[in-house]
Amino acid sequence: MLVETLQEPIRVVCDFDKEKVRPLAFLRAGRRYDIKRVNLIYRKRLGTRFVWCFAVSDGANTYGLTYDPETLLWSLTEIQVEG
């Protein structure tokens, strides 16, 4: 298993369903990755505020996405490739 950690701003297609946020797909380097499963949602403290982390899978690999509710920015923070 290869794990790469990064901090890369990305475009995310997202469903804001009432109180819940669910990423549906993200775009990176001209390619669209459709999210098949949201495996775990957790929050991480940044000083007094929180960012939301989503561990998601596209059917092949697992990715870590982070949403900052203050800046309204999404970032790709981790890629785990099975190998």
Binding site: M1, N39, L40, Y42, R45, T48, A55, T62, Q80, E82
Partner: protein, 432 residues
């Protein structure tokens, strides 16, 4: 109408490893170890049930794990993941009782007295909790639940229960569950106590239950009665449930297994400063001050060095914690490269706001200002010069093994402030 006393203890199975398997489905069904430091001497702090099946247990070293099972998947510890999942699980528990004691990051007691009319209803609640954890926190997160009339029996139940199951221990047939079980299987009995009990001719838990409480009290003091009461279904620690786990910790500290062997003193000073700053931040966030300090260093040549000291005035600042702890280990570190560093503070008491008349080294105002900046923009946005240039993977954030956790330290701080405000109100009334 009186309700039976019902305590539920919930224990998440192989918690950190299960959360990692939840986050990454490719890890499911495989031996997984969560490691504090990804070095051959690093320690596995949690292993999945599959890893336990091949002999990789908590406390195993990384090189030992690879020897036991070369294909083991090792994952670096990620504390925010576990803390956040714990918050989610505890919020589910709070739907069933207001009286919850978070015992550690993966265990909690729930007082269902009055909330459940019978043990059967408590079992139904247990199944509901399991279902909600499955759907809301994650389908890979399993737990064992013990239900009993006392706190100790509930925990004992979840310990002996099959993984993922629910067990009810009634006071009347508790001897049946204790029969033939080793003393160390019980919560609160370690090797030393077990040895002393062996000297009295007690070798199993049912023998302890049948022993004279007076004789136990004569040998162990009040602790002897507690030992007897626990195994006989007599509650001796009910008060803890009422305060939602709000207890002043006995000590706060941090340690780090160094990633590289070096004699670079600047590097070791920086690691110690990071541990000291983190300890100081935790102290201040809990509204506490310390009157004791310890520091230790493991040495590559073997053995370790360090000391523990009581202080004549309280401290709370990272700079002062660093200065005192560094002084305890500096001489040995200059002679031999360290393999791990640890420091901590003890004799903790609430910060009353009263300052010392004597001149102090620590600038409290500066510490508070640094806290305010780091609170707003994130940890180590601003650091002391000693820390400058130290990479983030040296002494990173760690998840504590403290029993009686507070899910959010700010909640504890609020409780302290409330208590201090109440005490001020009382003194104001008196002065009137």
């Amino acid at each position: 109408m009186s309700f039976p006393r019902i305590i539920m203890h919930i224990d998440m199975n192989s918690y950190f490893a299960s959360v990692e398997q939840q986050a990454n489905p490719a890890l499911r069904g495989k031996p997984v170890g969560v490691v504090a430091t990804m070095t051959p001497h690093g320690c596995i702090i949690a292993s999945s049930k599959e890893a336990k099946a091949v002999g990789i247990k908590t406390g195993c070293r990384v090189d030992e794990a690879f020897f036991l099972y070369p294909a083991v998947r090792l994952v670096q510890v990620d504390p925010p993941k576990y803390r956040s999942t714990t918050e989610k699980i505890f919020s589910i528990l709070q739907r069933y009782s207001e009286d919850i004691e978070p015992y550690s990051i993966d265990e909690a007691f729930v007082n269902l007295t009055g909330y459940a009319k019978s043990f059967n209803e408590a079992v139904r609640i247990g199944h509901e909790i399991k279902r909600q954890i499955f759907t809301e926190a994650g389908e890979w997160l399993t737990n064992s639940i013990g239900i009993a009339p006392t706190r100790w029996l509930a925990k004992f139940g979840s310990d002996i229960c099959e993984k993922g199951g629910i067990i009810v221990l009634h006071k009347e047939d508790v001897r049946r569950y204790l029969a033939g079980r080793e003393l160390t299987e019980a919560w609160g009995i370690a090797e030393r106590t077990a040895y002393k009990l062996n000297c009295l001719g007690i070798t199993t838990l049912d023998e302890l239950a049948a022993y004279s409480p007076y004789e136990l009290q004569r040998v162990f003091g009040i602790r002897g009665y507690e030992l007897w009461a626990n195994v006989n279904g007599v509650e001796v620690s009910s008060l803890r449930l009422a305060d939602n786990g709000y207890q002043v910790p006995k000590s706060i500290g941090h340690s780090h297994v160094l990633r590289k062997q070096t004699r670079n003193i600047t590097f070791h000073r920086a690691v110690m400063m990071r541990l000291a700053e983190r300890t100081g931040r935790k102290l201040r966030s809990l509204g506490l001050r310390a009157n004791g300090i310890f520091a230790h260093a493991g040495l590559h040549e073997g053995g370790h060095t360090g000391e523990s000291r009581k202080l004549d005035r309280p401290i709370e600042g990272g700079e002062e914690i660093f200065r005192l702890s560094w002084g305890m280990v500096e001489k040995s570190i200059r002679l031999s490269a360290p393999s791990f560093l640890s420091l901590g503070v003890f004799r903790l008491s609430p910060d009353t706001g009263q300052r010392s008349l004597l001149p102090t080294v620590e600038n409290t105002v500066l510490s508070r200002a640094l806290d305010a900046i780091n609170d707003r923009f994130g940890e180590e946005t601003i650091v002391r010069g000693t820390l400058f240039g130290l990479e983030g993977d040296h002494a990173p954030d760690r998840v504590g093994f403290r029993k009686t956790v507070e899910p959010d330290s700010r909640g504890l701080l609020a409780a302290y402030k409330e208590e201090q405000r109440e005490s001020r109100d009382i003194s104001y009334e008196k002065s009137e």
